[in-house]
């Protein structure tokens, strides 16, 4: 379970607010999709969950462990795939996976079987002896995903995980996510591909200008908009500068300065769960 409580992240001494007073609870056993336009604050939020960034205020708990106070324990319960797969490029595939297994202390008796299984699933058996720098973008992404899935921790946090994956790998990852959630564990991922979100997630959160504008199921979203339109149309309406859910500053200059959010305009519909 992931609990985010009134989390904000600011830079430049508070002049730039990347995430503002965001609260959210993601339950065990669900796949949660985080949607938002570029620069919405998705990666900042996921980086805070992964312990790469520290929140300016608020608390984050993973499985009841505070990420800031006890980062090592929290990180042992999560795996994170960032938005770039270009890491540790000089290591060979098997060296990279061994390093990850060592850091996560994956037991000796399961690691090689698990690596072989993942390599087989993602079609990377013939690539394990090559340096990651010789891989294509998609293969690098597969390697990052294999590294994340190898320790199989309680919580998966994936930032745009489908980017660059071929259809088979993308399908495999979605299956893995489903299996993981069905086993009572948690998956949180961000995506730009609304079609993926629509088909895979149990719940979706829409973030723009650092604020969570909507949280609910896709059906709730559809019901709320009283629309038979695609998720894409709803998303565009929700994240537009004139969105009824956006606070005053966003509808104005769409700036990211630290102003107090204005009251929601009269007559604007109440979202099912607005954070």
């Amino acid at each position: 379970m992931i609990r985010i409580d009134h989390v904000s992240k600011s830079y430049d001494g508070g002049a730039t607010l990347s995430v503002r007073d965001l609260s959210l609870e993601i339950r065990s056993g669900e796949i949660f999709g985080l949607l938002g336009p570029n620069g919405a604050g998705k990666s900042t939020l996921l980086n805070m969950l992964a312990g790469v960034l520290a929140p300016t205020s608020g608390t984050i708990e993973l499985g009841g462990v505070n990420v800031v106070e006890n980062p090592l324990a929290a990180k042992r319960n999560l795996c994170y795939v960032g938005d770039s797969p270009d890491h540790l490029l000089r290591l060979k595939g098997h060296e990279f996976l061994r390093f990850i297994a060592d850091v996560y202390e994956v037991p000796q008796d399961v690691r090689s079987a698990r690596i072989a299984e993942l390599a087989h699933e993602y079609g990377m058996e013939g690539e394990l002896d090559n340096q990651i720098q010789s891989y294509s973008h998609g293969m690098r992404q597969k390697m990052m995903i294999m590294g994340a899935l190898l320790p199989d921790p309680e919580t998966w946090i994936l930032d745009e995980p489908m980017t660059g994956l071929d259809p088979k790998a993308s399908w495999l990852l979605k299956q893995s996510m489903r299996r993981h959630a069905d086993a009572g564990k948690t998956v949180l991922f961000s995506t730009h591909v609304l079609d993926v979100a629509e088909k895979v997630v149990d719940r979706v959160g829409v973030i723009a200008h650092g604020e969570l504008l909507f949280v609910g199921t896709v059906n709730q979203m559809r019901e709320h908009f009283k629309s038979n339109g695609s998720l894409e149309e709803m998303f565009l309406e929700l994240t537009s500068e004139n969105s009824p859910f956006a606070s005053e500053p966003e509808r104005g200059a769409a700036g990211e300065k630290n102003d107090a959010p204005a009251a929601r305009p009269a007559g604007a519909p109440e979202p099912p769960e607005v954070r």
Binding site: L72, G82, H94, R98
Partner: protein, 597 residues
């Protein structure tokens, strides 16, 4: 015909390309020893701008110091009766030697190992235009660097009060030579990059040339031992003069640097001779430019295309028992050590700068010591002192280095002095964390034990910098017959000095890491890296200060017994080492665990 027409030169596109290349191109300088590629910091803060300004000033000062040194060298040559033409020949021969050894890599780096080239491939711009824009950029950088040698003949002119007109004439002649050498270099590079398989494996290619550059540094160090004795420099200058005077060497020089064939005429002839000499020099440069243009039209872009996506793959499958062996369980220190070592060895920049240099450093000392020794012995033999007798005299002196003696204390001071010099190479430790660059933030998302991470960052450079030198030291102690206990003490002092130096440097690097770089070369070259190398000397002084004071209190100021000063020096190292280890594994590790972009 259509193909050739498509590759026609366009002046308008040339200017656009040159502007783009000059302002925004990123090079993949894999050795870290090439030109350019030292992108400036991208931050906008005042501190960044001030830092950048300071670096520029420091680099300018460094350049001026070097130019001043060469000018002084030229004055020395002039005072020794060397003619300005011979001094000019020496600088041209040096230019050709340096360019042949290092220039191929620099040319390839700037003309081929550029990320943006794959984008240029998609643009409707002719290969000849792109090649000339890149070549102009390369020539500008190269000639600017080569100009550092001009002060040698200028100094000679100054010493001999030559007419004012000969000064600009010398500079123009040198620039023409520099341009011609670089053109010749690219003429060789174009077919190499089109057809050579080695050149297409960037890592191997970079390692080979990195090795060559390090060997060159060794050769210069050794050569200087001979050149700086007696009339060595004057002999070198007359040798260079002879190289350009006739026979096979002149032909070779004429092929590599055609203007050198007409230098004598341009510098020493009458007015008509000077004019015709200069005209011939310009014509030879123009001829090479035409040859290069023809070659580039045919092969430059084909070479660029063949480079895209090049890279070796083993094609071997690791599975079953082999996979199980390859992925055996390890602790975090071992895991980090293995990762760090593999990265350091496999990234050519890091290999050349941190591994090869560290390993060759003792060799450098050995060769220089042997060279100096041979010269000294030959001089002594001429004075009637035989080598065995000399060794006997030295052994008699070292036999007095008994435990607790004043002589041993002085010897320990010498070890400390030597260790301060090692501060120049302590940036291997300082760069430990910075080497990870953007990977650091990938590691931040893992359940990383940052103390293990830092221990691993200490072990590799410590082993690299200490073990070869330690072996050398042990050999010297045995050969010189230093008493065992005293020898062990000196070894302990050396280990204490290198360990504390490494710990402080590593800690400073962890507190102020430079993690935002685009390619590895940015980290190890340019003003920032140069300043860091010199800052290492200050770090060395800081850690040696306390033990040195303890030793000097016993052997110089004589306020404590020699044996006590020896003990206190060791105690100081132990205390410093413990404090620094606590600082590195405590506050520095915590700092890394919280470090954000």
């Amino acid at each position: 015909m259509a193909r050739a027409a498509a590759q026609d030169f366009s002046w308008k596109q040339f200017r656009v390309m040159l502007r783009v290349i000059r302002k925004g191109e990123q090079h993949l300088d894999n050795t870290g020893m090439g030109l350019g590629g030292d992108a400036e910091a991208t931050g906008k803060g005042v501190a960044t701008k001030v830092g950048l300004g300071l670096r520029r000033v420091a680099m300018a000062v460094l350049y001026l110091i070097l130019a001043g040194a060469f000018f002084a060298l030229g004055i020395g040559l002039g005072a020794a009766g060397v003619t300005p033409y011979s001094a000019f020949s020496l600088s041209v021969v040096s230019l050709v030697t340096l360019t042949v050894l290092t220039g191929v890599y620099q040319a390839v780096n700037i003309l081929y190992f550029v990320r943006d080239l794959s984008y240029y491939l998609t643009l409707p711009i002719s290969a000849t235009t792109i090649m000339w824009a890149k070549l102009t950029h390369f020539l500008a950088l190269s000639v600017l660097g080569d100009l550092i040698l001009v002060p040698v003949p200028l100094g000679c002119l100054f010493a001999q009060s030559a007419p004012a007109l000969t000064w600009p004439l010398t500079v123009v002649a040198f620039v023409l030579c520099a341009v011609a050498v670089n053109l010749a270099l690219v003429i060789v590079c174009v077919p190499i990059m089109r057809f050579s398989r080695l050149a297409h494996d960037k890592d191997r290619f970079s390692r080979v040339f990195g090795g060559l550059i390090v060997v060159l540094a060794l050769a210069i160090g050794v050569g200087s031992q001979f050149a700086l004795r007696g009339d060595g420099l004057a002999s070198l200058a007359s040798g260079a003069d002879e190289l350009l005077s006739g026979g096979a060497p002149m032909v070779v020089m004429g092929v590599i640097c055609p203007p050198s064939l007409f230098v004598r005429q341009a510098l020493t002839g009458d007015a008509l001779g000077v004019a015709s000499g200069l005209a011939l020099m310009v014509a030879s440069v123009a001829l090479y430019a035409l040859v290069l243009s023809a070659l580039a039209r045919r092969w430059y872009f084909e070479g660029v295309q063949s480079l895209q996506g090049a890279g070796a793959k083993s094609g071997r499958r690791v599975e079953g028992a082999e996979l199980a062996r390859a992925t055996r369980s390890r602790g975090q220190v071992s895991a980090n050590l293995s990762r760090d070592w593999k990265t350091m060895v496999r990234v050519p920049v890091f290999f050349n700068q941190f591994v090869l240099s560290s390993l060759l450093m003792p060799l450098y000392f050995v060769v220089i010591m042997v060279a100096s020794g041979v010269l000294a012995f030959s001089e002594m033999e001429q004075a009637g002192v035989s080598v065995p007798l000399l060794l006997e005299l030295v052994r008699t002196a070292t036999a007095t280095f008994t435990p607790g003696s004043l002589e041993l204390a002085w010897c320990a001071v010498g070890v400390l002095g030597f260790s301060i010099l090692l501060g120049f190479s302590s940036y291997t430790f300082t760069m430990g964390v910075s080497r990870d660059g953007d990977d650091f933030f990938f590691l931040r998302a893992l359940p990383m034990d940052w103390r293990s991470y830092l221990v691993a960052k200490f072990v590799s450079p410590f082993a690299l910098s200490t073990v070869p030198m330690l072996v050398l030291m042990l050999v010297a102690l045995v050969v010189l017959g230093v008493p065992v206990v005293s020898g062990a003490y000196l070894v302990l002092v050396y280990l204490g000095a290198t360990a504390t130096l490494g710990l402080l440097s590593l800690g400073l690097g962890a507190r102020f890491p430079r993690l935002t770089w685009d390619n590895e070369a940015q980290l190890v070259k340019g003003g920032g890296a140069t300043l860091m190398v010199f800052a290492g000397l200050v770090v060395g002084v800081v850690v040696m200060a306390l033990p040195a004071l303890a030793l000097l209190a016993g052997c110089l100021w004589l306020v404590i017994e020699p044996w006590l000063c020896l003990v206190l020096a060791l105690v100081a190292f132990v205390a410093e080492g413990a404090a620094l280890a606590w600082w590195v594994l405590g506050p520095c590790a915590r700092h890394l665990s919280r470090l954000e972009r």
